[in-house]
């Protein structure tokens, strides 16, 4: 089966409404909005649909469900005030905002803040996790459904640099990796009640990678948990281990996925194809020169694209990991790339959006737009628009439209 066909099959199983972007790197975690039509010739006057002020810092991605955009922030002298905002996707107008007090430690590296994990949604609820390990579940109208103070429950689960692994939700279970030097676990919390469904021990080492959901043939989900030890595949509903790859992996860049193949930042990139349920994956190839940085790799068609911190974009073919070309972008980068069917969108730490056409023989930056602010958060794509946030603002960039600035 062609990888793209496998990918499309997988996408068909997933419940997310077309056009939603319900978690870090999209509803499928692939960073891909294949149907989206984004501007490829960016122009601030033409394509900035709106920009709104945010009440605090953050590098979590916006999450989009229908015509609602959800974004998290922290404010206050020590980042102790936690914000969850819901905005109208069409106008940027605030629908509601909820604030909470952090109950866990809020220390982070000064470059980042406590609003690191991207929220996740099952289409009916929004689950907002912060570096302080405070977790809030609200309905889409902002009504609080339940909350947790995970650092109260598990006091050593903190990282002085801050936590940023983004959670996922599937099959009625909210799943988060809380992995630090002091304590490390993955937890499955009942999406309706907020109580633990399961909690499993994980390698006790700081880890910022996010779980990746994969659907099975029955529409149920498995979650790939990456860490310095490798990748552990678990059943979403139970936390039961299905297989374990133990040859090490990155602790910042998360794996890319296309159909049944995981492209794991492990010894360069290692392509793992899942076997039948419960069986260990088959290693398709390993390419040591394909080294990731903070940004997660992404698969676009037949190409695997890897962006390192310095701004070198490497393109490899997904069949064997053979390098096709390298392109120097204007860096540095913390945010991960996202893509439409044909183009890659990256935002560097200085706020410069670069649009890349990877089909060109050597890859080519075909457009740029400068937002002029430090940006660390990965963009989100929904409804033919790309949403980008800084510590102070959230932008919607779309095809030329009536501007609401």
């Amino acid at each position: 089966m062609k990888p793209w066909l496998a990918l499309m099959c997988c996408l068909a199983w997933l419940p997310a409404q077309a056009g939603d972007w319900r978690q870090f790197r999209g509803s499928q975690g692939a960073g891909l909005a294949a149907d989206a039509e984004l501007p490829t010739d960016l122009d601030a006057k033409r394509n900035l649909a709106w920009r709104i002020d945010l009440p605090g810092r953050g590098h979590s991605s916006p999450v989009i469900v229908g015509d609602r955009v959800f974004v998290t922030c922290v404010s206050g002298a020590r980042g102790g005030r936690l914000h969850v905002l819901c905005l109208d996707a069409n106008t940027g107008a605030k629908r509601w905002e909820r604030q909470f007090w952090a109950t866990g430690r809020t220390t982070t590296h000064e470059k980042i803040s406590g609003a690191g994990p991207t929220p996740t949604s099952d289409g009916e609820r929004i689950f907002a996790l912060f570096s302080s390990n405070d977790l809030f579940c609200l309905d889409l109208d902002g009504n609080l459904l339940w909350l947790r103070g995970l650092m109260r429950d598990y006091p050593n689960a903190s990282n002085g640099l801050g936590l940023a692994a983004s959670p996922v939700v599937a099959d009625g279970v909210f799943i988060a990796q809380i992995e630090t030097d002091g304590d490390a676990f993955a937890i499955g919390v009942d999406a309706l009640t907020g109580v633990n469904r399961w909690k499993i021990a994980r390698p006790r080492r700081a880890n910022w990678t996010s779980p990746l959901l994969l659907p099975d043939a029955n529409g149920k989900h498995r979650a790939a948990l990456q860490s310095s030890a490798g990748v552990q595949m678990i059943e979403a509903q139970s936390g039961r281990e299905l297989w374990n790859y133990s040859e090490g992996a990155a602790t910042t860049a998360s794996s890319a996925v296309a159909g049944p193949v995981l492209y794991v930042p492990s010894n360069g990139i290692t392509a793992l194809q899942e076997g039948a349920s419960g069986q260990s994956p088959k290693q398709l190839w390993r390419a040591a020169p394909l080294r990731t940085g903070t940004a997660s790799p992404i698969v676009l068609g037949e190409r695997l694209l890897i962006l390192n911190d310095a701004g070198i974009l490497t393109c490899a073919e997904i069949a064997e990991g053979k390098r096709l070309w390298q392109l120097r972008l204007k860096g540095p980068f913390t945010a991960s790339p996202v893509a439409t069917a044909k183009h890659l969108y990256v935002v560097n730490e200085k706020g410069l959006i670069q649009v890349i056409d990877p089909a060109k023989p050597e890859g080519e930056v075909i457009s740029e737009m400068d937002l002029g602010e430090t940006i660390l958060g990965t963009p989100s794509i929904a409804g033919n628009a790309i949403y980008i946030r800084s510590d102070g603002h959230l932008w919607k960039v779309a095809q030329a439209t009536a501007k609401i600035l």
Binding site: T107, N143, S158, V189
Partner: protein
């Protein structure tokens, strides 16, 4: 007989009273859970207050919250009052109920009970975050009134209210200097140094005063404990020192001598000269790797009661007070921050023995050279507590 009847009657009343109290505080959550719509504010709040660890109480709290958030503004002050005794999780539930209720009621054109909110804010016995929330509601409804309130909050026990009040005065001090009123500005900065609690504000004040030629004892301003007895190094190869129990953990004997990692070790005096009170084991013991050391001090409290030990460290550490273990974190070189780890302790009146174990791992990078901690004792409102008999005595 009449006396007996009277006594019996009293007993009945007491019994009924007890039943009523029991029903109010024990059955109320049950009542609210089974039929939240029929429950009074108190029962709903009581249900929310019962939330606990690992998600317990969430389902009942959710049902109670939905009903409470529907109530009119008559429930606002009872909810704020309830935050006084609510745990942190319940406080967030209650806060969210306030936000939901207030937004809806304001959108309907109703007015906030500003007078009542002001009385709530002015009563410093109320929970600090609840007072801040009330203050923000006042600011939303009547900015001039909140601005007036802020003027009296420079020494407020609530960190957020105090911060804003201090921030406003810092702006005024800067303006005085810009206008050439140096003595007045300097005086204001000196006063603010005693009131500011947040690191960024204290840093700004210290910088301004030093620029004006003033000598500032930053460690004293923050209340860091700078006088310690230290002992080590003990072996922590492979990180084993965090879990290992070395003799100081079994009882501090300042005259004792123990087998350390590389020979006999004994207690020695150490005084931190750092602005932020860092007790660097690299100074008395050199830059070692794979080691553990202990620091000991005696803190004299004027009276018995709860306090918060606030420690910052980028190393693995453990803390004991009067032999009781408070907290530890087995993490290295992630980051150090003032007040990073607040730890609740019950102090005795008079002498309290504070013991800190701080470990160094075997990383060799430059940024992994730190082997230290900083510690201060605060009351539960964040004000620095100073050892009544003097540090280390």
């Amino acid at each position: 007989m009449a006396r007996s009847t009277n006594v019996f009657g009293m007993r009945i009343r007491r019994y009924l009273g007890s039943v009523f109290i029991f029903a109010s505080f024990t059955l109320a959550p049950l009542r609210a859970e089974t039929n939240p719509a029929a429950a009074g504010h108190a029962a709903l709040i009581q249900t929310i207050a019962a939330v606990g660890s690992e998600g317990s109480g969430n389902v009942a709290a959710g049902a109670a919250w939905r009903e409470l958030a529907k109530r009119d503004l008559g429930a606002l002050l009872p909810i704020l009052n309830a935050m006084d005794s609510a745990n942190e999780l319940a406080a967030n539930w209650l806060r969210s109920a306030v936000e939901t209720m207030v937004n809806r009621e304001l959108a309907s054109g109703r007015a906030l009970p500003v007078e009542g909110l002001e009385q709530f804010v002015l009563d410093r016995a109320h929970q600090s975050q609840a007072r801040r929330l009330a203050f923000e509601l006042i600011a939303q409804a009547d900015p001039a009134r909140s601005e007036k309130l802020l003027a009296g909050m420079i020494n407020d026990p609530g960190s957020e209210l105090r911060r804003e009040a201090v921030g406003r005065e810092l702006g005024r001090a800067g303006k005085l200097l810009a206008e050439g009123k140096t003595a007045e500005g300097k005086g204001l900065y000196q006063r603010l140094l005693t009131q500011a609690r947040d690191v960024d504000q204290v840093d700004g004040i210290v910088k301004a005063l030093r620029k004006l030629g003033e000598t500032v004892d930053v460690a004293k301003a923050f209340g860091f404990i700078t006088e310690w007895k230290v002992i080590g190094p003990f072996d922590s190869a492979g990180g084993k020192g965090f879990a290992a129990v070395y003799p100081p953990e079994l009882g501090v004997d300042l005259g004792a001598e123990y087998d350390g990692k590389a020979g006999k070790v004994r207690w020695q005096d150490f005084a931190s000269k750092e602005d932020y009170g860092e007790v660097s084991m690299n100074l008395p013991m050199k830059a070692l790797k794979g080691v553990a050391a202990y620091a000991y001090t005696e803190f004299y409290a004027p009276k018995a009661g709860p306090a918060e030990l606030r420690l910052g460290s980028e190393n693995a550490f453990k803390v004991w007070v009067n032999g009781n273990y408070l907290f530890g974190q087995d993490e290295y070189h992630r980051l150090k921050e003032i007040d990073q780890y607040p730890m609740r302790a019950n102090l005795k009146a008079g002498k309290n023995e504070i013991l800190v174990k701080v470990c160094q791992n075997e990383q060799t990078e430059d940024w992994a050279s730190g082997w230290d901690f900083q510690l201060r004792v605060c009351d539960l409102l964040g004000a620095t507590m100073v050892s009544a008999k003097g540090e280390g005595q």
